[in-house]
Subunit: 147 residues, 4 copies
């Protein structure tokens, strides 16, 4: 599977009065890591949805374990990859490291979602395109594309 | 177990370009629901940590299922309760409803956390006080306290 | 002018390691207060944009003064109103109070914005409808609508 | 004056249903840019507050102009510098560019804040240290420190 890496700083505003990251921030970062993985696969989000006629890849399920707390000024590195493809959904794993230590691990189950042709105000799951699966599976392409 | 309810509106800024709630917002709401549950139990967060010598109740684990999407203008209602007490941690369940329909369900595992007496810059799990368990378990007290 | 009120609690996750509200949260609340003002005027956001063919009311300018800090557990009350109508923009004032004290005051200049008919991927300012001005100016209607 | 640069991507979750950045995000970025400027000056935030006995640099005033909207996938670059030093406060200017175009400009007035010695639960403005002024004024040091 293609693995993408993302690196960022924990900001002051990411932290709460206990001086550690307010936990929903990690889920915002999972979302950004998913975008980074698609970009690594040559599927940048600003073109992805138009090219494939989808409106988004919303979640049906998320799980996360918080192992080591982080605080402002810490540098975090995430490794993200798909761990499972289903018909219209897929599972992503994000591992966030602080100084080589696994700090947070999360799994997102996302659905390839378009407009319902019978009622365009509603969303509807769509079959995951082969091209998307191929690109997210391509180990070589991914490494090359990581900036 | 004590059950608390919380009601709020989905705001424009909670939603993403797919016109639905950006999913980390639900986890922010879980956090606010946990605060509301403690308040219902007569343990308001602004006194809780000072009274019991803790610095927070950070998460070690979270799971959520997203069943029905919501958008700006929707009114959501959450029901929150503890589903399990352990030595120094506890599990909370949050059920978020839109028009009587279960829209999101989540489980947070949180740890009762103080300063490590041997190194005050570090956090350390502490035994959950009996008083806190009693209050979060008290069905009657909770109903009375819900505003 | 119509004045709307909004009341909410400062949450744990709204605060930073200095134990006070992380300041961009106030701007998120300004946005929610603007939505509340429109709702008070009988213009709920979930219908507003469809009814009037706009895609949003983005900002061109914001100013805010932070007078008294707030922390988690504090109850805040905001009073919001339009202070000036221009051709396609308008100025809103939000005053946030903590225990009767003016804590934050802000002014947002927003533009009534639709799709550019010549290029629907671009946004374009549109003349503010008379109906919208009338409703936001109506003192009596507003008081009635505040929940 | 020392000028620091920061570069980042607009994420999906930064944008609202009008497909443009939800405006309070810019203020979060201003905060991160302030941190980056201090880091460029050799004053990383994780040491700054301990070294100088302050608890934060909260805002008393902010102004921003939103000139060009941005959306997910856009790369933004900010240039930040102090434009004025006062006794215990200072003014920062942040200019955010998209493709060489000035997209957002903001001014933050921040206060050098410590605990009130007579009541440590309260915050109190403190005289800005000469060392901090010197470092934020040092053009040469800044350029070297930008990563």
């Amino acid at each position: 599977m293609l693995i993408s890496k993302k690196r960022w700083l924990v900001e002051w505003g990411d932290c709460d009065p206990a001086d550690i990251v307010f936990y929903p921030r990690y889920l915002e970062w999972f979302d950004a890591c998913t975008t980074a993985l698609f970009k690594s696969a040559g599927l940048p989000i600003e073109e992805l949805f138009k090219d494939f006629g989808v409106v988004g890849i919303p979640l049906v399920d998320v799980r996360a374990r918080f192992i080591v707390p982080s605080t402002y000024g810490d540098e975090l590195v995430a490794e993200s990859q798909v761990t499972e493809f289903r018909r219209s959904s897929f599972v992503l794993r994000h591992q966030i490291f602080r100084k080589e230590l696994l700090a947070v691990e999360g799994f997102e189950t996302r659905v390839w979602t378009g407009r319902d042709p019978e009622n365009p105000t509603r969303l509807k799951a769509q079959t995951l395109p082969k091209e998307v699966i191929r690109r997210l599976s391509n180990e070589r392409g991914g490494e090359a594309a990581v900036p």
